[in-house]
């Protein structure tokens, strides 16, 4: 007995269609006219590379029906970039899509994009653009994109510092940074420890005091 029966699903959908509050699906009419005649689970075998599947016996049979890994030329560039710059991974990104047309808003003839934050993906796409349009080898294209990236990162940092100093000079008051808060918390912890230790020592003064030896008795 197969896990999913297509005709059974079709019948259950037909029963569902009879309910007055259910709207008809777009695909229902077509599938009802031409119902599936066999199970698709094991009939369609994906095209696979025999070099990747090097198993024998049952393993080969199992791995044939499992989906294969999708690879693109960007993957190597991404791995290389993030292996060289691991702290770029610590800059948070948003991967929830807005409309799915991010590539159409970008022109990779230059690195800085108006609608995209500067990240490792910019280096990857810029490298691909240089390879296709400038006929550069991969190494040179990657190096040029990387240097442009460094330039823009430094520019961003300098802009932020200048803006911070300007705002401060014009009267802005900033909250404490994480480091200053950390110093304060450390100092508060030390202060509380000192108070507790003082109280404990005061309460147990007799315990920690050595008894005095009466020397006059020993000489007599």
């Amino acid at each position: 007995m197969p896990k999913f029966n297509a005709n059974g699903l079709l019948r259950s959908f037909a029963a569902e269609m009879k309910k007055p509050w259910t709207a008809e699906s777009l695909w229902y009419e077509t599938v009802a006219k031409h119902p599936p005649t066999f199970q698709y689970a094991r009939r369609i075998v994906p095209l696979y590379d025999p070099n990747k599947v090097k198993s024998r016996g049952k393993r080969l049979r199992k791995s044939m029906y499992q989906p294969q890994e999708i690879q693109w030329p960007e993957d190597k560039l991404r791995k290389r970039f993030y292996r060289d710059h691991p702290w770029e991974l610590a800059r948070p990104q948003i991967i929830a899509e807005n409309d799915g047309n991010d590539q159409q808003y970008c022109d990779w003839s230059h690195m800085d994009q108006p609608r995209k934050a500067l990240s490792g993906e910019s280096v990857v796409q810029r490298t691909l653009w240089l390879i296709e349009n400038s006929n550069m080898p991969v190494e040179n294209a990657y190096d040029q994109a990387r240097k442009e990236f460094y330039h823009l990162r430094a520019e961003q940092e300098i802009q932020q510092r200048v803006a911070h100093d300007q705002a401060q000079a014009l009267g802005a008051v900033f909250t404490k940074s994480d480091l200053e808060l950390g110093y304060e918390m450390d100092q508060n912890a030390l202060n509380s420890w000192f108070d507790n230790a003082s109280q404990y020592a005061e309460a147990n003064r007799t315990k920690f005091t050595d008894p005095s030896v009466d020397i006059s008795k020993t000489t007599q």
């Binding site: 159409q104 300098i158 014009l170």
Partner: protein, 225 residues
């Protein structure tokens, strides 16, 4: 856009896939980030929509890393990555110096970006028109000596013992020079004129306008003399 490119150009696919060696330590105990830190807007986090294949529960963390988008148990495996994001922020809070060879070429355009969507393409950069006031403040107490020298080469305005009716920011009473909020006039419109140190202006004194505005008396200081 073609159909096969929809997956290739999506944001989820553009994440860096980790390539861990076999005897690598656990993802939780690494000292450098291995997985990409992911965040979401507040409305997205409320709905559990982090951009993954499935919805995630409502988390207190603001940054997570997705290990696998789909597992055999039909779950999305994710871990927290607040640690690395905070560490990177603290590294930036240290304010380490940024060495840059062509700082002079960049610095005239530092004030050009008024919004985050402006492009830094050189072709679309506007030329500086004459007569517009720009401010490039020099903070005397917050920079080191090397920074002072570097900034003095680029700054347009140099003040010399001019008393001000008001004080700004990090004004120190014992400092020899004081900060100036109102800027000078740029007479040059090309790159060469701006970046060169010959076009330096000196504020001699201050006057008050009929409407009460403070107007500086600026004279050009020629270095060839």
């Amino acid at each position: 856009m073609k159909f096969p490119d929809l997956l290739r150009c999506s944001r989820a696919v553009s994440l860096a896939r980790p390539d861990l060696p076999r005897n690598s330590p656990d993802v939780y105990d690494t000292k450098i980030p291995i997985l990409q830190a992911i965040t979401a807007k507040k409305c997205q986090r409320f709905r559990g929509d982090w951009g993954a294949k499935r919805k995630l529960p409502i988390l207190k963390n603001r940054h997570i890393s997705i290990q696998k988008f789909d597992t055999f148990e039909h779950q999305c495996a994710f871990i927290s990555s607040d640690r690395f994001v905070r560490t990177l922020k603290r590294i930036y809070d240290l304010k380490l110096p940024v060495p840059l060879n062509d700082y002079e070429q960049i610095s005239p355009y530092l004030l050009q970006k008024y919004n985050t969507f402006s492009s830094s393409n050189p072709k679309s950069r506007p030329t500086l028109p004459p007569g517009i006031l720009y401010a490039k403040l020099k903070l005397l107490d917050s920079f080191s000596d090397s920074e002072k020298k570097r900034l003095s080469l680029v700054s347009f305005i140099q003040t010399k013992k001019v008393p001000l009716p008001f004080t700004y920011g990090k004004f120190a009473p014992d400092s020899k020079e004081c900060l100036f909020g109102v800027s000078g006039v740029i007479a040059a419109t090309s790159l060469k004129g701006i970046t060169s140190t010959k076009n330096r202006y000196v504020i001699r004194s201050l006057n008050v306008d009929e409407t009460g505005k403070t107007i500086p008396n600026i004279t050009r200081e020629n270095r060839s003399i």
